[in-house]
């Protein structure tokens, strides 16, 4: 089980990193900046911390892998896509509600909404990869989709 969890975590982490770079780093970054108050020196620039960023992606992937393997029995790409979308939507919503509660960061609801939708899509894809790997490395049937 440990090797399966690690392999699924690695696959999910790579998808989080690669798709996250394209989606947030290239496509959405210039758009989301318009909806955020800019504080000089607050963000790590010109690059994010390249130790913490992949670790963050791996921890999120491990959370999915653990929930799917231990509890949900999700072991197909489509099953992971659905379950990941639900989990990531709730996780992103919690995070952005905390931003709204504690930080003067977002200028209005548009940026938050775009960020939650994009995070949900990213999480769904990464979770699909996690579940696919769990399925490939496990011969017992999935218990839920």
């Amino acid at each position: 089980m440990l090797i399966r969890l690690l392999a699924a975590t690695l696959a999910g982490g790579v998808v989080f990193y690669a798709v996250g770079f394209v989606l947030f780093g290239i496509v959405l970054d210039p758009i989301l900046r318009n909806y955020m108050t800019q504080y000089p020196g607050l963000m790590k620039a010109p690059m994010p911390d390249l130790l913490f960023l992949p670790l963050w992606n791996l921890v999120m992937a491990f959370l999915f892998a653990f929930v799917f393997e231990k509890w949900a029995g999700v072991r197909t790409f489509v099953g992971g896509l659905k379950a990941g979308a639900i989990l990531m939507f709730l996780v992103a919503l919690i995070l952005d509600l905390n931003y709204l509660a504690f930080m003067n960061l977002w200028k209005g609801p548009i940026g938050v909404t775009v960020e939650i939708i994009a995070s949900t899509a990213l999480g769904a894809l990464a979770a699909g990869a996690v579940a696919s790997v769990l399925g490939m490395m496990n011969k017992s049937p999935a218990t839920s989709e």
């Binding site: 108050t37 504080y39 000089p40 020196g41 607050l42 963000m43 790590k44 994010p48 911390d49 913490f52 960023l53 670790l55 963050w56 921890v59 999120m60 491990f62 959370l63 653990f66 929930v67 231990k70 509890w71 949900a72 029995g73 639900i86 989990l87 709730l90 996780v91 919503l93 919690i94 995070l95 509600l97 905390n98 709204l100 509660a101 504690f102 930080m103 003067n104 960061l105 839920s144």
Partner: protein, 147 residues
């Protein structure tokens, strides 16, 4: 099932709110977080939190736990919820703090991150216990998950 999910979410949301006030509002924020904020982060943080998103965040956190426990994990006891809540919250807090560490100069040093993860894990464990207990009270079927 819907009534059970709503009741557990409500109980968990209240637990998250009260525990968050006790752990973060009274202890961690004044002792470890605010004193270690960078000059840049001091400008972005609010003096007083905005209540509506704060309360909503607690209930969405409770809904996340309830959904996982009820739909997938079959957790219906306080101890089961304690363990499940600790695992989910530890991983979630770790990922959030790694995200902050990746993109923002939020704190001077790593001590606030460590205390945040410990505090969040304790809060998630107790709130998870409450959620597991409420799910158990409202469901007479035996718990399928290993506790």
């Amino acid at each position: 099932m819907l009534t059970r999910i709503l009741a557990a979410t409500l109980a968990g949301g209240v637990a998250f709110f009260v525990l968050g006030f006790l752990i973060y509002g009274l202890v961690l924020d004044p002792m470890f977080m605010r004193p270690n904020l960078t000059a840049e982060a001091t400008k972005v943080m609010m003096e007083v939190p905005v209540w509506a998103p704060l309360v909503l965040s607690n209930f969405v956190s409770a809904l996340l736990f309830t959904f996982i426990f009820d739909q997938w994990a079959g957790i219906r006891t306080f101890v089961g919820g304690l363990k499940g809540g600790a695992i989910i919250m530890f991983l979630n807090a770790l990922s959030i703090d790694l995200g902050f560490g990746a993109f923002m100069k939020l704190y001077n040093g790593y001590t606030p991150f460590v205390f945040d993860i410990i505090g969040a894990t304790i809060m998630g464990a107790i709130a998870g216990g409450v959620i597991g207990a409420v799910l158990g009270i409202m469901d007479k079927k035996p718990s399928p998950a290993a506790e």
